[in-house]
């Protein structure tokens, strides 16, 4: 292909024969690449954070909240039926919120309490995902922690889930268990399998529980009071529920089956029982009606990933909250979940919320998640724009460096420029030589920058760990990781997400445009040189 001579010469000046690439080209291309890389990575990470927070917020409060501007719904079940009949609404969960005072052995907490329907609530807010390991730390030799995670079904009228912070304040915990080794029996145990605790409800009694095998498949369970082996249960098949307060075990057979007399011993710690006071009790007290605190068990501890969620929090049943607030048959509103197609786009969700509001009529408000948390996302956006504002001048600095280097090149090559004109080159072509150099540097820098950004995205965990560890130190790094949770950050590749592709294209184009512009001034100077004077220059 016959390359126009100006393109050919600009290429040769960047990539001279025999040298491969000039030092100026290496520095310029690398400078542009770094700028492109940084801009893409910053925006990609900010988008990753936004996606993560978006997911966390939706998980912790649903897609929208339907609430009355004042008062409470008269017949909330009718309203709930109306909401459920909306074509775009996927799930509806009523709630009643308030504050409660909790006390446990003199320790107090005043969490934000949410009364929910455990079954419906879980369809909108995945409480089961938030339930965490809640067993107290026990250092017992020759024992293993075997507490199963609590389940949403454990939430009953006399059972509550409390947040990790509230649990720490109250020094309360859900039921927990350890398996201790019985030396006498283990030496005689024929089977080499094990047995695990698959269910431990909040009503289980503290003490030593034992499981004794009758043969490979059946066993007997004794409770803490059954000292004479008056067996509480004789289990012959896999079972999921033995009734309230009875732990459920699951056999994990080994190569040798269990035999009669094989014994397992468990130490079980019952769930903490906490006293609950409500503001409604104060109202009653004014009327000289003193009510004792309500006692509830801690069914589980939860951790909501969205840091904006109440740290001191409690989940109870709707009826529990209605009773505590003396608001029987009342709800405050509904958490809503919409079809994924609607929820994926903020405008669609806003429209769906408006339609839902219209269908309810009256003084209902249906507020989507992004309106309720607008302050936070505005802050994130502001941070993103600020970062870009900082990054763009860095890109411009690279452009200035290119302009200066090319300008120096024009001065250094003044006589060559004169010769090119003398040999028949037009001024436009002479200018093109330098403009093309800026363009090629920008293009190669953008491509290299894309490559670096892809590598950064690919190895982000390793790089972030290294950076955080070296800047924040080991302890600080743990704090950063807990808050930002960058390990679970989703930063999409350009082929996975149109937004990511757009970022790559925008910043790549920006680099090419700025570099080309950087070549314009030297090009203009070169084109304006008087060839006769250029040939005379020293």
């Amino acid at each position: 292909m016959k390359l126009p001579w100006a393109f050919y010469l600009s290429w040769k000046q960047l990539f001279p024969t025999g040298r491969g690439i000039s030092f100026f080209s290496v520095l310029s291309v690398f400078g542009v690449a770094l700028g492109v890389n940084v801009m893409i990575v910053v925006v990609a990470f900010m988008n990753g954070f936004q996606d993560k927070f978006r997911t966390d917020i939706i998980d912790s409060q649903g897609h929208a909240r339907a609430e009355m501007s004042y008062g409470s719904p008269g017949d909330w079940k009718d309203d709930m039926a109306k909401l459920e009949s909306q074509p775009k609404v996927q799930a509806v969960a009523p709630y009643l919120n308030g504050h409660l005072l909790l006390e446990h052995f003199g320790n107090r907490a005043v969490p934000f309490a949410m009364g929910i329907d455990p079954i419906r609530g879980d369809t909108v807010i995945p409480i089961s995902q938030f339930l965490a390991e809640g067993s107290p730390k026990m250092l017992v030799e020759e024992a293993s922690q075997i507490t199963p995670l609590p389940v949403v079904d454990d939430l009953q009228d006399d059972v509550v889930f409390i947040s990790r912070k509230a649990a720490d304040k109250l020094r309360a915990h859900p039921a927990a268990a350890i398996m201790t080794t019985d030396h006498n029996s283990s030496s005689n145990r024929a089977g080499n399998g094990t047995i695990v605790l698959s269910k431990l409800d909040p009503f289980v009694e503290s003490g030593t529980w034992k499981v004794r095998f009758e043969d490979g498949a059946s066993y007997r369970i004794t409770d803490p009071h059954d000292e004479e082996w008056e067996d509480l249960f004789f289990v012959t098949e896999k079972i999921e529920n033995l009734g309230e307060g009875i732990p459920v075990f699951e056999i994990k057979p080994g190569s040798n089956p269990f035999a009669k007399g094989d014994l397992f011993t468990f130490k079980i710690f019952g769930a903490s029982v906490i006293d609950v006071y409500s503001p409604a009790m104060l109202e009653k007290a004014r009327d000289d009606e003193l009510l004792p605190p309500r006692q509830v068990r801690v069914g589980g501890i939860f951790e909501v990933p969205w840091q904006g969620f109440h740290l001191d929090a409690l989940f109870g049943t709707l009826r529990f909250m209605q009773e505590m607030n003396d608001q029987r048959g009342v709800v405050h509103g509904f958490n809503l979940k919409f079809d994924p197609e609607v929820a994926s786009d903020t405008q669609s969700l806003a429209d769906a919320c408006m339609n839902t509001r219209s269908s309810l009529g009256g003084n209902w408000n249906v507020v989507p998640w992004f309106v309720e948390n607008a302050w936070f996302f505005d802050l994130l956006k502001f941070e993103e724009y600020l970062m870009v504002l900082i990054m763009v001048p860095i890109g411009l600095v690279a452009a200035f460096a290119i302009a200066i280097a090319l300008m120096t090149s024009v001065l250094r090559k003044t006589r060559e420029i004169g010769l090119l004109v003398a040999m028949g080159g037009s001024r436009l072509s002479v200018g093109t030589v330098f403009t093309m150099q800026g363009f090629v540097i920008g293009l190669l820098g953008a491509i290299l920058g894309w490559g670096m950004a892809l590598l950064f995205i690919c190895y982000r965990d390793t790089l972030m760990s290294f950076i955080v560890r070296n800047i924040a130190g080991e302890e600080g790094g743990v704090g950063v990781a807990q808050f930002y949770d960058f390990y679970s950050l989703k930063v999409p590749y350009p082929w996975d997400s149109p937004d990511s592709l757009q970022n790559f294209l925008i910043f790549g184009t920006f680099a090419v445009a700025v570099s080309t512009l950087a070549g314009f001034l030297p090009a203009w100077k070169a084109a304006r040189l008087n060839p006769a004077e250029a040939l005379r220059s020293e």
Binding site: W5, K12, S22, G425
Partner: protein, 232 residues
């Protein structure tokens, strides 16, 4: 009825050039008439600063004249106007230039430097490459075609510059003190090469030189004194 231009490789009529110098006007060139026949050579001698290089620049249209007429191979070019893209393209085809300082592009090897002339004329191809190799062979540097200019001696560089000037089969060769940076032996060789090339390529040669013996070797020796070009 206007008179037809003479069939010269290069012809200049009544060229004049002045430069402002403070409140005064310096008259550098006065009513210059010059004609060069294809295959013939003309030398121009004169004291330093007398306007020899300025005259060459006017002939190549690298500078504008105050008055005068200019013809390249019979084509009329207005020397009073800055050249446009068409003039630049014609210059690439019709003129070859050789300078004292060679002006080879340091980022390109010898062959690429010679081929640059063809690229500027938009005629690079297999034929141009073959001719470039023939010319390098003729000027005696064919074994250095892959070398960078920095690796060559002064004489070799000037030979490459001559090959480059000849590549597009120009009608006129303009040489501005081409031996100025060379030792006596190299200068003699280069001069011989230029004159021979001019004859063989049927190109008119305008040679600016200080060397009387080189001037004597040309077909016509002229002297520039106080802006006037004439026989010595």
């Amino acid at each position: 009825m206007s008179e037809e231009p003479a069939p010269f490789a290069l012809e200049a009529k009544g060229l004049a050039k002045t430069f402002p110098y403070g409140d005064e006007v310096l008259e550098i060139l006065l009513d210059i008439d010059l004609s060069v026949v294809a295959g013939k050579s003309v030398s121009i001698r004169g004291e330093s600063g007398c306007g020899k290089t300025t005259l060459l620049n006017l002939l190549a249209r690298l500078d504008t004249a105050d008055v005068g007429e200019l013809y390249w191979n019979g084509e009329a070019h207005d020397p009073k106007l800055p050249p446009g893209p068409w003039d630049a393209a014609r210059r690439a085809c019709l003129l070859g230039v050789v300078y004292q300082a060679y002006y080879l592009i340091p980022e390109m090897n010898v062959l690429e430097n010679v081929l640059l002339a063809a690229r500027l004329a938009g005629s690079v191809g297999k034929d141009a490459k073959q001719r470039a190799r023939e010319l390098l062979d003729r000027v005696g540097v064919s074994n250095r075609e892959r070398q960078l200019p920095q690796k060559l001696s002064g004489g070799e560089r000037q030979r490459v510059a001559i090959a480059r000037a000849l590549l597009n089969r120009p009608k006129v060769l303009l040489a501005d003190e081409p031996t100025g940076n060379l030792d006596e032996r190299s200068a003699g060789n280069v001069m011989e090469l230029l004159l021979e090339a001019s004859r063989e390529e049927d190109a008119g040669l305008v040679l600016v030189t200080h060397n009387p013996s080189f001037a004597k070797a040309t077909d016509e020796a002229l002297h520039l004194v106080k802006g006037v070009l004439g026989s010595p």
